[in-house]
């Protein structure tokens, strides 16, 4: 479904290449968590895959088609993103936001067909955001807003969903709910869901597969259990202060 072919991500400035020659494949319906410390290149990789940023080399292919070479209108029908940024706009209602997800499918005037309305309703229900209909987007809490943005991404009926650290503002129950709903959506709809996260323990429990960025330009891929047992998690996250205990599945202070 999604294939990275020698993908190199980074910038044409001092930061340079962040990840080099990544090669991997993801099956349809996979819920993938991308882990790594701050600055390891999670956002860069996600933006590059989603086509929001040019690749330095190689390509990300969705069903064989290079994402960054799709016309923007075509890409918008296949790839949806949810970002950390919190958009605010006066008078913008929850219905407006989710309806924007149908924009790549509507005509010049953005008029929604009954089919579009149905998809929007389903997306709201799936994201647990149906109760927010009619409310102003600005008036929602952080967790409610993220649900609406997820509903918008689901309404876009993409084959690939890219979500960049969207759980950062949520409390623990909120994070669990959001991650489970994304996992369920991936499994039920066949969409590939990529989620970058700082939630190590939740990600290790919920992900079908983990991409681990070690911060040195290398990427380890595998089921969570495998990466833990091989000691890769510890190698990526351990500091002078803390160490990852594979048998406990969490960090401990060094004595």
């Amino acid at each position: 479904m999604l294939a990275l072919e020698d993908l190199s991500a980074g910038y044409h400035n001092a930061r340079g290449v962040v990840l080099r020659d990544v090669r991997l494949e993801v099956q349809a319906g996979a819920f993938v968590c991308i882990l790594g410390r701050n600055g390891a290149g999670k956002s860069t990789l996600m933006r590059t895959i989603a086509g929001l940023q040019a690749a330095l080399g190689g390509a990300a292919r969705l069903q064989g088609e290079a994402i960054n070479q799709m016309r923007p209108a075509v890409r918008a029908r296949r790839v949806a993103v949810v970002l950390t940024e919190r958009p605010a706009s006066p008078g913008l209602r929850v219905d407006d936001v989710v309806a924007l997800g149908r924009q790549p499918f509507t005509g010049w005037d953005g008029r929604m067909a009954p089919e579009d309305e149905r998809i929007v309703e389903e997306a709201l229900a799936r994201a647990g955001a149906s109760g927010f209909r009619g409310r102003y987007f600005d008036h929602l809490s952080d967790g409610e807003r993220q649900r609406v943005m997820i509903a918008r991404a689901i309404a876009q009926t993409p084959r690939l969903m890219v979500l960049d650290e969207i759980t950062a503002f949520l409390d623990l129950p909120g994070r669990v709910e959001v991650m489970s709903l994304l996992r369920r959506h991936a499994h039920e709809s066949g969409t590939v869901v990529l989620l970058s996260s700082h939630d190590l323990d939740l990600s290790l429990q919920l992900a079908d597969s983990v991409w681990l960025l070690d911060g040195g330009g290398d990427l380890k891929v595998g089921p969570p259990g495998e990466l833990t047992r091989a000691g890769h998690i510890g190698a990526a996250f351990d500091t002078a202060e803390i160490t990852f205990a594979p048998e406990l599945g969490r960090f401990q202070l060094r004595r």
């Binding site: 993103v81 958009p87 605010a88 006066p90 008078g91 600005d138």
Partner: protein
């Protein structure tokens, strides 16, 4: 169109028509409403009432309707383009930039000699519109560049200050131009729809109508810009091209208003908020008819108050607009959650 949009548009249209008839009939000389309507359609082509209605009042009413609708739609475009709920042509200094453009052109002609002045006088309509458009476009480009770096409120303050600077320069320049080459152009003591001559109306109408068409064409992608550039891009919008198109539409809407009516304040700022409240949505396309009609209504109402049969002519249009508009902006700044926690 949703029911709310249709209903609001029809109510606004009815109010606009009623107010237009009132404005055509009443003034220093009051005519019966029926007589004013008859005079408008030429049933009484001879006589004083026909002259008053068609030659004096009609151009002013048309100018107010055109300018008001242009400013209302321009405000919707600018607030989406800048992602800033207090953006409009006046508050971000675009109108003042247009005035400065006209002043620079007039001054250049005055110092270039009588030939240039007579050329400018002969082609007053197009040349003044073009000069204003250049000034508006430059000011808009400058504010867009700044807008990426500044918060909404800071941008508002910078825009107002740029406006004051440009208006100061304009008045100094026009003074020297008048001394060097005679009065080519009187300049603007204040905003007014009364100075628009019937022969200037096409120069006001054509760019505004074209700007409206362009606004309708960009409405769908502009809606996705409400979520920010990244989301717009992910929804298939070519953001750079969209910015240029929306900016062009804004210039076409705003420049003729500056050129012929002066710096009409507050309409573009408050009408989009009224439109969002009436439409119950922030999507751009449904806002456009409401903003156009609401802007026209507000402009015409302000003009009707200015030209009511007072003992003497003492009211200025911007004074009326400020009394209505400034408190609305204050309420917006104090109570809008989007502005309190912007970016």
């Amino acid at each position: 169109m949703p029911v709310r949009v249709t209903t609001s548009s029809l109510v606004l249209l009815a109010a606009l028509l009623a107010l237009a008839i009132y404005a055509l009939a009443r003034g220093q000389i009051a005519l019966p409403f029926l007589e004013a309507i008859k005079a408008l359609f030429g049933a009484e082509s001879e006589g004083l009432s026909g002259q008053i209605v068609r030659e004096i009042r009609l151009p002013r009413v048309l100018a107010a309707v055109l300018a008001g609708s242009a400013l209302g739609v321009g405000g919707v475009l600018m607030q989406a383009l800048f992602r800033n709920p207090v953006a409009d042509g006046w508050s971000l200094g675009l109108l003042a930039g247009g005035q400065l453009g006209v002043a620079l052109t007039v001054t250049a002609a005055a110092f270039a000699g009588p030939a240039a002045v007579s050329f400018l006088t002969l082609f007053a309509g197009p040349s003044i519109t073009l000069a204003a458009a250049a000034g508006v476009a430059l000011a808009a480009a400058a504010m867009l560049a700044l807008g990426r770096r500044l918060s909404a409120i800071t941008l508002l303050v910078v825009g107002l200050m740029m406006g004051f600077t440009a208006q100061g320069l304009t008045s100094v320049l026009l003074h020297f131009a008048a001394r060097a080459g005679g009065r080519v152009y009187g300049g603007w003591s204040d905003a007014s729809f009364a100075g628009v001559q019937p022969e200037s109306l096409p120069w006001l109408a054509v760019p505004i109508v074209a700007g409206m068409v362009l606004a309708v064409a960009t409405a769908k992608p502009l809606s996705s810009l409400l979520l920010g550039e990244n989301y717009a891009q992910s929804l298939g919008v070519r953001v750079g091209a969209l910015r240029r198109l929306a900016l062009t539409a804004t210039v076409m809407l705003v420049a003729p208003v500056v050129a012929f009516c002066g710096p009409v304040s507050f309409i573009g700022l408050i009408v989009p908020h009224l439109a969002r409240a009436l439409a119950g949505s922030a999507r751009i396309l449904p806002l456009l008819p409401i903003a156009a009609l609401g802007g026209a209504l507000l402009a015409l109402a302000g003009d009707a108050i200015v030209h009511a049969p007072w003992e003497q002519h003492f009211l200025h249009l911007n004074a009326i607009l400020a009394i209505v508009g400034a408190p609305a902006v204050i309420l917006l700044l104090v109570f809008s959650p989007a502005l309190r926690g912007w970016r």
